[in-house]
């Protein structure tokens, strides 16, 4: 009877714990990914996927959560190789959830590992495997974590600046000689938690932004598209083994406001930001004039301070207040478009009207209703966010008094 009660109590504790979780995240650690480089070569990568059918991307999926949320991350190792972990870089989780094999735990092939933590201060963080980390991080086992304020708003942190859109720029490098099986598939004694691993010389040939380099950056529409008067939040992070120097066009009026998930005591007005391995910075930009330019990213060898690679991220600042649609009664702007995880429909209503705003796929199927009510004259912002939505083209449809007023294409990246 005592044993039965103990078992019931344990189960109740487990159920209670699960009931407290605000967000469950599932990641599959894989050793069998492929990555096409800018020169069309394909290399082997390790990485994190969200389903068995999906290739692990480099970087892995961006994890988005709200400050104060209780998070569970289930990592399933389907690697047929070395153990894996995730280190929650900068989140200051407790030792058990820190992801360092010999101080926490590792996850052998076909096992699940569960990480529990409360999302800390709003900011930008990283996750990466900490098993033989020099190899596994270069192999591709890393991703970005964005913690929003408790209300999920587009605000740098509670009490910080609000912004209209955000652009993560996540820097790393690839040395293709490290992506050979002889390097990646290192020995691993499963009875040990510290793996002694041979490390080759590091001489990267590819310098990445969000996993892409050179023309891939344009092809994948990694760009700052904004308008005069809009505030954009650029999240800079570096998981590479080189330092980076990020140079913003002066007309963007860059202001550094956060670093490593914390507000700077004194925001710094500076067009140049150095982001070294493991660091993150948050930079607000608010252009005052239309602009076609680029953000320059230089990759600096830590051993000799020589710049080894340069990437450019396009900047397109449109003029103030040109809406996507306008008539006497209503104007509509969709921003950003294309978008990565979230876009905002800004409505300016001049005449009181019953308005419905749908998000539809190209087959006409409604996949979301952003508003359906009587709007009094004024400005309204309707946010659309759907992380599960597949990449592609969708429609924002606005109906006034049940008649279609306008249908605008939006692109999910």
């Amino acid at each position: 009877m005592k044993k039965f009660l103990f078992f019931i109590t344990l189960n109740l504790i487990g159920i209670f714990s699960i009931a407290q979780i605000n967000q469950s995240i599932f990641l599959i650690a894989r050793n069998t990914g492929e990555k096409q480089l800018a020169n069309n070569d394909t290399i082997r990568v390790f990485g994190f996927a969200t389903s068995l059918n999906a290739q692990p991307n480099v970087p892995g999926p961006t994890l988005i959560m709200n400050e104060g949320d209780s998070i569970e991350i289930d990592v399933w190792n389907v690697s047929q190789g070395a153990p894996h972990t995730i280190h929650l870089h900068g989140l200051d989780v407790n030792q058990q959830n820190d992801g360092v094999p010999h101080l926490s735990f590792d996850i052998p092939h076909m096992d699940h590992g569960f990480y529990y933590f409360k999302a800390p201060h709003a900011g930008t963080y990283l996750y990466h495997c900490h098993v033989a980390s020099t190899i596994h991080v270069q192999a591709g086992m890393y991703g970005l974590i964005i913690v929003r304020p408790p209300n999920g708003s587009y605000t740098t942190y509670t009490g910080g600046d609000s912004f209209d859109n955000e652009l993560p720029l996540f820097m790393s490098e690839i040395d293709t000689t490290w992506h050979r099986d002889s390097v990646l598939l290192h020995d691993h004694d499963t009875s040990l938690s510290i793996h002694l691993v041979d490390i080759p010389d590091y001489d990267p040939q590819h310098f990445l932004v969000n996993g892409f380099s050179d023309q891939q950056i344009v092809q994948n529409q990694i760009a700052l598209n904004t308008n005069v008067g809009k505030v954009s939040y650029v999240r800079l992070a570096n998981i590479g083994y080189f330092g980076t120097r990020i140079i913003f066009p002066s007309a963007l009026n860059a202001k550094i406001v956060t670093s490593d998930g914390r507000p700077l005591p004194n925001p710094e007005i500076n067009d140049t930001v150095y982001v070294y391995p493991g660091e993150r910075y948050g930079v607000l930009v608010e252009p005052s004039t239309p602009l076609m330019d680029s953000i320059t990213i230089e990759y600096i060898n830590m051993n000799n301070s020589v710049v080894k690679g340069v990437q450019k991220v396009a900047v397109d600042v449109g003029p103030l207040g040109i809406p996507d649609f306008k008539n006497a009664e209503l104007s509509l702007s969709i921003f950003p478009n294309p978008f990565q995880s979230e876009t905002t429909v800004q409505l300016t209503v001049n005449v009181s009207s019953k308005i419905k705003v749908n998000v539809k796929d190209l087959n006409g199927k409604i996949i979301g209703v952003l508003a359906n009510k009587l709007f009094e004259p004024g400005n309204y912002q309707l946010k659309f966010e759907d992380n599960s939505l597949a990449k592609g083209v969708y429609l924002i449809e606005v109906l006034k008094d049940n008649k279609q007023l306008v249908s605008k294409k939006i692109i999910k990246l």
Binding site: N94, I135, D260, P277, E279
Partner: protein
């Protein structure tokens, strides 16, 4: 406050500082020998030590603001060396083999001052000759990291009178106070231990040649001194880049128990002799 009262207070404070300031005499021997790395590889190395016996770790000098520091530097090597203190005018010395130099200096404000071999710069300093003079009057628990890195073949070349091209530098050993993982944790001056709520200060100098980016697991720390970026003081961070001949003082007030790593996040620097994890990696232990 009236000007008179202000002046009285100012001079009283100054007097107290002068009364409590003391003379500190230190002897530094310039020694050379073979350094034994974590994998037992050996290569030539120079160091400033307290005695004529070679140690990889440079002598750490700790004084209070306004103390008068008198240094006697004895060149115990067979080669010419030098001595200087970064950003301190008038103390640069050339010291021939077997000679002795004398330096007197005073530092009015808290911080880290880097001393180094200024002869044949930066080669001799790279070979190991660089340490820290810590000026501090705080009651915090103190830990000290003098970080360096070396390319074995370069040490051998320089010790034999050869030359190197710094643009080709590729270090293969990474150390804190002369040790690599796992030996760093045996150095009680380097390995951070303490309790929740303690005020802990970490004094970091980079007397090597490369940039390092030190990442703390488990905690954020506040920058209380930055030789390169004084405007960074007050920033609360988990990752701290530090360039060659720069210094940082961090303040950590731990809020959770556990054992957490600190390591260079240029993850190549976590290796030693091309073996992971024999590089710049240690742990913090909070009870």
């Amino acid at each position: 406050m009236s000007l008179k009262k202000y002046l009285i207070l100012f001079y009283c404070t100054l007097l107290i500082q002068i009364v409590f300031a003391i003379n500190v005499n230190q002897t530094l021997y310039i020694n050379s020998d073979n350094y034994m790395a974590v994998d037992t590889t050996q290569f030539p190395y120079y160091s400033f030590n307290q005695t004529p016996i070679f140690q990889a770790e440079n002598k750490r000098i700790i004084i209070s603001p306004n103390d008068s520091l008198f240094l006697m530097i004895i060149n115990n090597d067979t080669l010419t060396h030098g001595f200087n203190i970064k950003n301190y005018l008038g103390v640069n010395k050339t010291i021939f083999a077997g000679d002795t130099a004398y330096v007197a200096c005073t530092f009015s404000s808290a911080g880290i001052n880097l001393y180094y071999d200024s002869f044949n710069y930066p080669d001799n300093r790279y070979m190991g000759l660089g340490g820290m003079i810590v000026v501090d009057g705080s009651n915090a628990s103190k830990f000290f990291w003098n970080i360096k890195e070396h390319q074995k073949l370069w040490n051998i070349s320089l010790a034999n009178g050869g030359s190197v091209v710094w643009q080709n530098y590729y270090p293969d050993y990474f150390t804190i106070n002369g040790n690599s993982n796992p030996d760093i944790n045996l150095d009680t001056n380097a390995r951070i231990t303490g309790n929740i709520g303690d005020t802990i200060r970490i004094y970091i100098s980079n007397t090597g040649q490369a940039i390092h980016s030190l990442h703390f697991h488990g905690y954020h720390s506040t920058i209380v001194h930055s030789s390169k970026n004084p405007n960074h003081v007050g920033r609360l961070k988990d990752t701290f880049p530090i360039g060659s001949m720069e210094s940082l003082i961090l303040e950590l007030i731990p809020n959770q128990i556990g054992e957490y790593p600190v390591h260079d996040h240029n993850l190549v620097a976590v290796s030693g002799g091309h073996i992971y994890p024999n590089g710049m990696f240690l742990t913090i232990l909070i009870q």
